[in-house]
Amino acid sequence: MPNEMNKKQQEIKEKMQQQKYQSKVDNVTPTPPLLKNICWAFVVGGLICTLGQLFTDYFLGLDLPKKEASACATAVLVFLGAFFTGIGVYDDLGKRAGAGSIVPITGFANSIVAPAMEFKREGYVFGVGAKMFVIAGPVLVYGMVTAFIIGLIYWIRQ
């Protein structure tokens, strides 16, 4: 019994030591420049969305129905995200814009193309094919699960 008590005391002591150290670390670790990051995210995210709207308006001008027009605009944005990832620009943008370039659909394209490019050397099956969705995969899985649950709620309420 006293042995167990000692072990517990030891554990508590260790935890306290860890917490103390963590607060020391927090004191010396530089914090991200929040205002600058927010401004970048706001401007870049906003610009990407404005670009999307421009494409939607353009396709609407071609007499496409609204649903098709927004699908076309999405396809163009995905292409652009993939293209700028391919020529090595998107990561430089992401470094500054953060969520501003991750959240829009161009960021989704980036998260698929980046691993696909990187794992090309491991071949087209176990490299590109298998690793392509290594980051986007969870987004797809939980996106679909959420859609399913919401659909279910909608169906029950009817």
């Binding site: 670390v25 991200p32 990832t85 814009a97 991750i102 980036n110 193309v113 980046a114 691993p115």
Partner: protein, 335 residues
């Protein structure tokens, strides 16, 4: 005679001599603070090879061959090679060693590998087993990044406390005869874990390990920090460096005047490396270029050199384990 002193240290009776060193780096390191202290700066991170991993093998092979060439001995004279890198199963080291065809022992100490290799080399040389050993370590930014973090083209934002893995390699030739600085003592570190889980905060994770080893070294050998002209740690970065000074101050040891971290010596402020350099090559390229030259010029006479390694893996991180860290030390002195 037992050469162990204190709890974790060894004192060499015939201190082995660092007879030659060589290093090689990527373009970013080449534009950094130590510009004039590299044997070769690659034009890009592939150097005409098919993959980053192949490039890293090339880095290590180059460093070892160059170090041997610089002291005009031949590869056949090398009794053994201690080497390691950051990749799974020491991939780049093994392919480099395949070409060198020398007796080889692979080491994994993460970023402490260079010092781990030097420590073991010195022990085997002073023990009378061998005459010439090469210790080497390498890391490659892109290869490490894709194994440990995200694909390189991913648009992610690195936190300001993050460090940049060095692309490069360094090799040290340690011999029983010749001229150069000597490895006089060594302290083998033990694993220290203060519960840091964030793999972007490797400096803070490793700092307590460095402190533990520095403290133990001073106790075992009976020295004060003032004995050394400089104390260097491998790759703690600016955040880790501040923590080491602070933690040692709490133990009543002041090293603020003669301490620097190799991770703070590689990149310039405007190179966007954030808190500094990391990786096996961080300590290796600084030791094998700048520090070795300063020793030969007698501008530094006695140094304590520590390799610091964070021994986590991608699996341990995903399973929410904290980062176990280690630091080994060797004292290097001019005769």
């Amino acid at each position: 005679m037992n050469k162990k002193q204190g709890m974790q240290s060894v004192v060499f009776t015939n201190p082995p001599i660092i007879t030659s060193t060589a290093n090689i780096v990527g373009p970013m390191e080449g534009k950094g603070l130590l510009q004039g202290y590299f044997d070769y700066i690659m034009p890009d991170n592939l150097n005409g090879l098919a993959s980053w991993e192949q490039c890293e093998s090339y880095l290590m092979e180059y460093a070892i061959k160059k170090a041997i060439e610089k002291e005009s001995s031949t590869m056949e004279e090398v009794d053994c090679v201690f080497a390691g890198d950051l990749l799974n199963q020491l991939m780049s080291t093994h392919f480099a060693m395949k070409n060198l065809k020398r007796p080889f022992l692979g080491l994994y100490g993460a970023c402490s590998t260079m010092v781990e290799g030097m420590l073991l080399s010195a022990i085997l040389l002073d023990g009378g087993f061998f005459n010439k050993i090469v210790a080497a370590a390498s890391s490659h930014h892109d290869a490490a990044e894709r194994q440990y973090r995200f694909p390189n083209e991913m648009g992610v934002q690195r936190p300001p406390g993050a460090q940049w893995t060095v692309t490069g390699s360094g090799a040290v030739v340690v011999s029983t005869s010749g001229s150069g600085p000597r490895i006089t003592t060594g302290t083998i570190g033990k694993i220290v874990d203060y519960g840091i889980k964030d793999p972007n905060a490797m400096g803070p994770a490793m700092a307590p390990a460095a402190v533990d080893t520095i403290w133990q070294h001073l106790q075992d050998i009976g020295r004060t920090p003032a004995y050394y002209d400089m104390i260097f740690t491998g790759d703690l970065g600016s955040v880790g460096r501040d923590l080491v000074i602070q933690l040692l101050q709490e133990k009543g040891v002041d090293i603020s005047n003669n301490y620097q971290d190799c991770g703070c010596m590689v990149y310039r402020e405007n190179q966007d490396a954030h808190a500094g350099a990391s990786g096996c090559a961080s300590s290796a390229i600084v030791l094998c270029g700048y520090i070795y030259k300063r020793l030969l010029q007698d501008k530094l006479k006695k140094i304590l050199f520590l390799g610091t390694g964070s021994l986590h893996s991608t699996t341990s991180y995903q399973q929410k384990e904290s980062i176990p860290c280690i630091a080994h030390a060797v004292s290097i002195e001019m005769p």
